[in-house]
Subunit: 283 residues, 2 copies
DNA sequence: ATATATCGGTGTACGCCATAAACAAGAAGG
DNA sequence: CCTTCTTGTTTATGGCGTACACCGATATAT
C-alpha cells in the first residue's frame, strides 16, 4: 500500500519515460499539461508557474491537473525534459574533445535562452528523462575520450553543467528584474549614488572603477566558459603526461603506454630518456 | 514624495551602512530583527524564512517588522552582510595570488557552511553592505596584482564567486532534501532502480558506471575550484607571456626553465613540444 | 442485468506566504 | 494643549500547493 503518488519517485520515472501517444486527444493529457506549463514558465519564469495558471490556460480546474501529474515538482521534471528536447545530431565525428564539448555547452546555453527557467530549477532529486540523459550521455562521451579517470569525467561535466546553469540563472534574474521594475540593470545600478559614495575608501575597487573595468565588462559566460574549459584542458594534459609514464619505462621501471602509431616509446619521460642517454655516454 | 520605502533602494543602502548602536535596547531593533532572521535561515534555509517566523521568534506581530525593515528582500540584504562578517585579517602579505585567493575562497566556503542560505540568495540587485564590499575588495586586490586587465580581474572574481555560490547551493539542497525526507541522498538515488533500468542503452554512462566513476566521485568543490583556478592561472600566464615572451610554455602555460646559454626554450617539456608540433602539422 | 470499481474532472477548504491600509497609544515638541 | 512622529497592532487582499469529498460516465465482474 503506497501512501501517496506525489511522494513516489518511481511514478515520476514512469511519467518521464512514458510512451508518447501519437494522436492528440481532445481531452486533458499529460503532454498538453506539460506544454502549457512550459508556455507559462517561458512567459513568467519558474516562480510564476502555478498549477492554477496552467489549468486556466487549458480551460480546466486546478485540481484536474492532479489526475495526470503527481504534483508541481514532478511537473517541473517533465517540463525540463520536454524543453531540453533531443540533442541535435553532431555534424560529424570531427574535432577534438574541446570544440565538441564547447558546441554542446553552447547548445545548452541556447536552450536556456529559450527556456530561461531551466536554470531556476532547484533541488538535487530531479529525475532525468530521456532527453536529459541523452544530453548527459553525449557530454560524458565527449570527455570520456580524453583519458581522464571516470570520476573526473563526471566531475568535469558536472562543473560545466553547473556553470551554464548558474550563468543562465543570472540572465533570467536580470530579465525578470528589468521586466518587473521597468528599470534596466545599468540604469538601476547607475542610480545607486548613495552606495558609490561609500566605496571611495576601497582602493582596488576605486582603481578598477577608474580604469573602466566596470564600464566595459567581460562577457561573463564567454569568460567563464573559457576559464573552465582551460582548466579542464590542463587536467587532460597533465593526465596525458602521467599516462605516458605509466606502462613500461626501461630506466625507472614505470610502465609506459604506447601510442597507436610512431616509434614505440622506451622511456616513461623525457627525463628518463635523457638519464639513459647520459648513462650510455658515460659508459 | 517617494512612493514606498520598500521600493526605494537608497533606503536599503542607508540601512546596510547604518551606524550600529552600541547598547542593545529592550525594544524591537533592526539588529535584533536581523539576528533573529539569520537564526531562522540557519535553521530552515532561505525558503523557510518568513516574516512571521522572525516576528514570532522575537515575540512581536508580523507587521511590526515592517516598521524597521522595508520588506523581505531588504532583510535578506542585511542578513547577508551580517552573516559574512568582516573578512579575517590576512596572516601576512605572503604567497602568490593563487594561494591567497584560494584561502579567500575557502573562507567563503566555510561561511557558507555555517550559513548555507547565503548561496540561496537570488537576484542581481542585492545591495552590498560594508562586509560584502570588504570581501569583494580583498579578492579584487589579490587578483589585481596579476597583470590582468581590469575587466578580467572583475570577471575572474565574479566567476569564482558564482562557483562557490553554486556549490554551496547544491550542498544546502542536499541537506534540505535529506532533512525533509529523512532519506539520504545516496539512499534515494540508490533506490531509483526503475530509472537505472533504462540507462543500459547509454554506452558511456554504462561504462562510467561499471568503472565505478559514480561510486567514488570527485569532491565537486575541490575539483571545480582546482579547475577554475587553473583556468585563471592560465590566463594570467598568457598575459605574462604576451608582456615578455617565453616565460611560460607556449602550449600548457607551465613555467619554462631557461638555461644560461643556447637557444631559449619555448616549451616546458619535450611532451609539450611534441604536442605543439603535432598541432602545427595537423593544422 | 446488475453491482462494483475505476477514471476524469469539480468545488471546497486549509494552511501557508508578503504586505497594503487603517488604526491606536505613547513620546516629543511647539 | 494640541500637533506630529514613532512604534506596534489589526484587518484585509490576493497569491500559492494540494488534501479531500464528491459526481457522472465508463469498464469490469458476477
Amino acid at each position: 500500500m503506497r501512501r501517496n503518488r506525489a511522494d513516489d519517485p518511481d511514478h515520476g520515472v514512469e511519467l518521464l519515460w512514458r510512451e508518447r501517444d501519437d494522436g492528440s486527444r481532445p481531452a486533458l493529457t499529460l503532454d498538453r499539461i506539460v506544454r502549457a506549463a512550459v508556455e507559462v514558465a517561458d512567459a513568467e519564469g519558474l516562480a510564476g508557474l502555478s498549477m492554477r495558471k496552467v489549468a486556466e490556460r487549458l480551460g480546466f480546474t486546478t485540481m484536474s491537473l492532479y489526475r495526470h501529474v503527481p504534483g508541481r515538482e514532478h511537473l517541473v521534471d517533465l517540463m525540463r525534459d520536454a524543453a531540453l528536447g533531443e540533442p541535435p545530431p553532431e555534424p560529424a565525428a570531427k574535432g577534438g574533445w574541446r570544440p565538441r564539448l564547447e558546441t554542446c555547452v553552447r547548445q545548452g546555453w541556447e536552450v536556456r535562452r529559450r527556456h530561461p527557467w531551466l536554470g531556476e530549477i532547484r533541488g538535487t532529486r530531479h529525475l532525468p528523462g530521456p532527453n536529459s540523459v541523452a544530453h548527459y550521455e553525449r557530454m560524458l562521451s565527449i570527455v570520456a575520450g580524453t583519458g581522464l579517470a571516470p570520476a573526473e569525467v563526471i566531475a568535469a561535466i558536472e562543473l560545466v553543467g553547473r556553470f551554464v546553469d548558474a550563468e543562465a540563472q543570472v540572465l533570467v534574474e536580470v530579465a525578470r528584474a528589468e521586466r518587473s521594475s521597468g528599470v534596466s540593470e545599468q540604469e538601476w545600478w547607475g542610480a545607486r549614488d548613495s552606495l558609490y559614495a561609500r566605496l571611495g575608501s576601497y582602493p582596488t575597487i576605486t582603481y578598477l572603477w577608474e580604469a573602466g573595468g566596470f564600464d566595459e565588462p567581460e562577457d561573463p559566460f564567454e569568460f567563464g566558459l573559457a576559464r573552465v574549459l582551460d582548466g579542464i584542458e590542463l587536467l587532460v594534459r597533465r593526465r596525458d603526461e602521467t599516462r605516458d609514464e605509466s606502462l613500461a619505462c626501461q630506466l625507472c621501471g614505470n610502465p609506459v603506454e604506447q601510442s597507436a602509431s610512431g616509434r614505440p616509446r622506451a622511456y616513461c619521460s623525457r627525463a628518463c630518456q635523457q638519464r639513459a642517454y647520459r648513462k650510455r655516454r658515460s659508459g
